[in-house]
């Protein structure tokens, strides 16, 4: 996966103007990708008989008309960002975790179970405990496939796919059963009681709905950046990813590293689930996630597994989602266009990562390198 985003292994090699050009290209191409996707979307919108310009105006208003809308975009991006960060981390180590969805559910389950307790705790403590619970729930759900992969070479793709379904049904059981709000009503909704006020994430940008989970996400991004690109552990984890044999030879405990990254990745998915409950939904419901764990795979990969890239990708998806909701509500374009739009963005971003590599600029840079050496 050698797409050109700053990957830590080879920055600062070129002359400044060339580096600048390179960054320009890295920044511009994703915009081109989004633009291309919007063009394709426009064609489809026109097919439904709606004027694309009008539809996109509604979409843009949905994203940026007011602080409030911007806040919504950030709220949407938050869980995707947090899961994506964990996935980027684990993908760097060559472990292919597609179990974020299940880990999200298990984290949300434990996080909510703590959040609904009336322990009379101060908010900071109650929130921390809930988040910790989320981390542990998701982490345990990542530990199992991580352990099986690291110690017994059991393919993690198959185990994580299956564990996703199992987790969803476990949560289904708890929301119907032991954790159900108002268990005596025969026809009560399958959902837990509301989490205590002391465990709800504070809103940080009134008047918007933006909650502290977003800041937590940014903090986690910084933390993961430091771990991955500044700390010895990150180098080891990436070494395990790019060359397990070399990592073993160099004395690294590859088994332990794989398990750790899997637990962290699962844990972060669990934190994301908990943040979504504590910050937005306030209750855990049966099948509450619209596939966040799957979308985050695309986000991590589009962001080249790099925290900065992941932040940008999740903001883009958040914006598309919020904008498209508005577009559907106010311009009457069927909701399914969102899927097509997001898919086309994914396609174009994936392809543009390769354009970057192929473009004449690359040659220019190489020439520059020769000149400098």
């Amino acid at each position: 996966m050698e797409q050109g985003a700053p990957s830590g292994s080879s920055p600062s090699r070129h002359h400044s103007w060339a580096r600048w050009l390179n960054y320009l290209q890295i920044t511009l191409l994703p915009f081109g990708a989004v633009f291309a996707a919007l063009v394709i979307g426009a064609i489809l919108i026109a097919l439904t008989g709606v004027e694309p310009g009008f539809a996109y105006q509604k979409m843009w208003e949905g994203i940026a008309k007011s602080n409030y809308q911007v806040g919504l975009v950030l709220v949407k991006a938050t869980p995707l960002m947090i899961i994506g960060l964990g996935l980027g981390f684990v993908f760097n180590s060559g472990v292919f975790n597609i179990g974020a969805e299940g880990q999200l559910y298990m984290g949300a389950l434990l996080g909510t179970a703590i959040g609904i307790q009336d322990w009379g705790l101060p908010a900071w403590l109650h929130i921390s405990l809930s988040l910790l619970g989320g981390f542990i729930g998701g982490g345990l759900w990542g530990l199992l496939p991580g352990y099986l992969k690291a110690r017994h070479q059991i393919n993690e793709v198959i185990t994580t796919i299956l564990l996703n379904y199992i987790a969803i049904y476990i949560v289904s059981y708890f929301t119907h059963g032991p954790l159900r709000d108002n268990p005596f009503a025969e026809a009560a909704l399958p959902q837990t009681p509301e989490v205590q006020a002391s465990s709800q994430l504070p809103l940080i940008w009134p008047p918007t709905r933006l909650h502290a989970g977003f800041l937590l996400g940014l903090g986690l991004a910084l933390l993961l950046y430091l771990i991955t690109y500044r700390m010895a552990f990150g180098y080891k984890a990436r070494a395990v990813g790019s060359s397990p044999a070399a990592a073993h030879y160099a004395g690294m405990n590859t088994t332990l590293i794989m398990i750790i990254v899997m637990v962290v990745s699962g844990g972060l998915a669990g934190v994301a689930g908990t943040v979504e409950i504590l910050g937005v939904q306030h209750r855990l419901r049966d099948m509450f996630s619209p596939g966040l764990g799957y979308s985050a795979i695309a986000i991590a990969l589009m962001g080249n597994n790099h925290p900065l890239g992941i932040i940008l990708a999740s903001l883009l998806f958040g914006a598309l989602q919020v904008g498209a909701n508005n577009m559907q509500a106010l311009a009457g374009v069927p909701v399914t266009i969102v899927d097509v739009l997001q898919a086309t963005v994914i396609f174009f971003v994936a392809v543009s990562a390769m354009i970057r590599w192929r473009a004449p600029l690359r040659t220019l840079l190489l020439r520059n390198r020769e000149a400098s050496s």
Binding site: Y165, I166, P334, D339
Partner: protein, 310 residues
């Protein structure tokens, strides 16, 4: 349950298992093909979704279920072509593309469907009827389980030996597998790796499309959204479970199908088990079987890596 008769129960269970396994089997056989050629395709789900819709349109236009099958294969094949173009010609990341493809097929089919029917109700179209295989269907037990099904089920069985043969016993299959193991080596013996991978993906799309066809024209006679509901991912799991060998993969699909059939029956008995656990059962059983009995298997060495490497 005093009138519980285990033999008819078993027969009906296995027959249902065979039906539930059929769409998985089609998609998994397709998936084996592209994975052996070195392309990791987590877009199987999307290809199946494309197939359900293509089959519906095909049947609608041609007025025949076989025209529908053609339509399903065409839709899946086109998605395979798109995947191939982006992943092989553009060398874009296969996992990213796979997730994109799933979303793409889901969005596009329902988009078209809603454009066709504002009310959202699908017409009924010609579909596959059960066809009892002469003689074979009269064999006690076996006949009831295997030979009183719709023709697509028979096609799926036939494809198992066919693909075992094609992938593991022919010159073409050897070349294909070489592309997945060591594409450069394949190129040095004169294999066109690009063409092989294109072919494999298109073939895979067509098979996944047939899997979709079975859902829309073999199980019901219409198109609805949400017909596939995760079967593409289960097929992906079955491929690894069966270690890329058609017969083993078929077994994995059947295991899952029978487990699913079993849980549906157990629910009907009103056992004192929460239904969530019964719904979980096929996944749990597959997981446990995999971990305990199958576990490791070598995936094709070049799986997921674009060629030529850069």
């Amino acid at each position: 349950m005093n009138e519980f008769l285990w033999l008819p129960f078993l027969v009906s269970l296995l027959a249902a298992g065979v039906r539930l396994a059929t769409p998985l089997l089609f998609a998994a056989l397709g998936g084996i093909t592209n994975e052996l050629s070195g392309v990791l395709n987590i877009g199987l789900e999307g290809m199946m979704i494309g197939g359900t819709f293509g089959a519906y349109i095909g049947a609608l236009l041609s007025g025949s279920e076989w025209g529908g099958a053609l339509g399903g294969m065409l839709a899946g094949g086109l998605l395979g072509l798109l995947f191939a173009y982006l992943s092989i010609t553009w060398r874009a990341d296969q996992v990213v593309l796979g997730t994109g493809l799933n979303l793409f097929a889901l969005g596009l089919t329902s988009f078209f469907f809603r454009s066709m029917y504002k009310a959202g109700i699908s017409q009924f179209v010609p579909s596959f009827d059960v066809w009892n295989v002469p003689l074979l269907s009269d064999i006690p037990l076996i006949g009831q389980i295997f030979f009183r099904q719709v023709p697509l089920v028979y096609l799926a069985y036939l494809l198992i030996p066919l693909f075992s043969f094609l992938l593991y016993k022919t010159t073409w299959g050897l070349k294909l597998r070489c592309c997945g193991e060591h594409p450069r080596a394949a190129e040095t013996v004169g294999v066109n790796v690009t063409r092989m991978r294109y072919l494999a993906l298109i073939l895979s799309g067509m098979l996944a499309g047939l899997g979709g066809t079975f859902l829309s024209l073999g199980q019901i006679s219409a198109f609805t959204e949400g017909l596939v509901s995760g079967r593409g991912f289960i097929a992906l799991a079955a491929i690894i479970f069966g270690r890329w060998k058609p017969l083993n993969v078929a077994f994995a699909c059947l295991l899952f199908g029978v487990a699913d059939a079993l849980q549906l029956r157990l629910q009907g008995f009103g056992l004192p088990i929460r239904y969530e656990f019964l719904l979980m059962f096929p996944y749990l059983l597959t997981l446990v079987t995999f971990v305990v009995f199958v576990n490791r298997g070598d995936s094709p060495a070049a799986l997921g890596k674009p060629y030529p490497e850069k």
